[in-house]
Subunit: 77 residues, 2 copies
DNA sequence: CTATATTTGTGCGTATGTATG
DNA sequence: ACATACATACGCACAAATATA
């Protein structure tokens, strides 16, 4: 899946939704890291700030936890 | 102190005045950084553009100098 | 042990679009 | 038309902590 820059839905929400779907599908497993901000930038073709906001949303949703200088991990079910 | 959105005085001027007062009171000391744009946003509940314009005014008044990617600092007395 | 690469945190610069008075 | 204000989104640079070679 990819992102649609023309959609009225902010890119960072779209990216968050795409990653959330990968978590819920089991592709990204509990306890394991999601892609780094840099990987997200490259994978979805967005700026780092956009990737960071997307991850911030996932934290707000309680799907992930971020450990500084370590990464962001899927929360245990 | 806080900001008044209903005042005829633009928000960015109000924010600039509040920060200027903190400089003149000595709370923000010469040579030391004033709060970041993000901190100003959060502290005064304004958008980033408003915070930026406020800092721009402080620069015009000669109260601070901005060093790109490093921060904005109170000028030496 | 040292050096490098990775990853997140922070800070500013800039541009565009939208809405309001 | 213009100024104000907010939101989104691109970018660069540097720091600090961690992971790896």
């Amino acid at each position: 899946m990819s992102v649609n820059p023309l959609s009225p839905t902010p890119l960072y929400v779209q990216v968050a939704d795409l990653i959330a779907a990968r978590i819920e599908s089991g592709e990204l497993e509990p306890g394991k890291p999601i892609p780094s901000e840099k990987s997200i930038q490259q994978a979805y073709g967005v700026a780092r700030g956009t990737a960071r906001r997307a991850v911030e949303i996932l934290r707000e949703r309680g799907l992930v936890v971020t450990m500084p200088q370590r990464g962001t991990f899927v929360v245990e079910a």
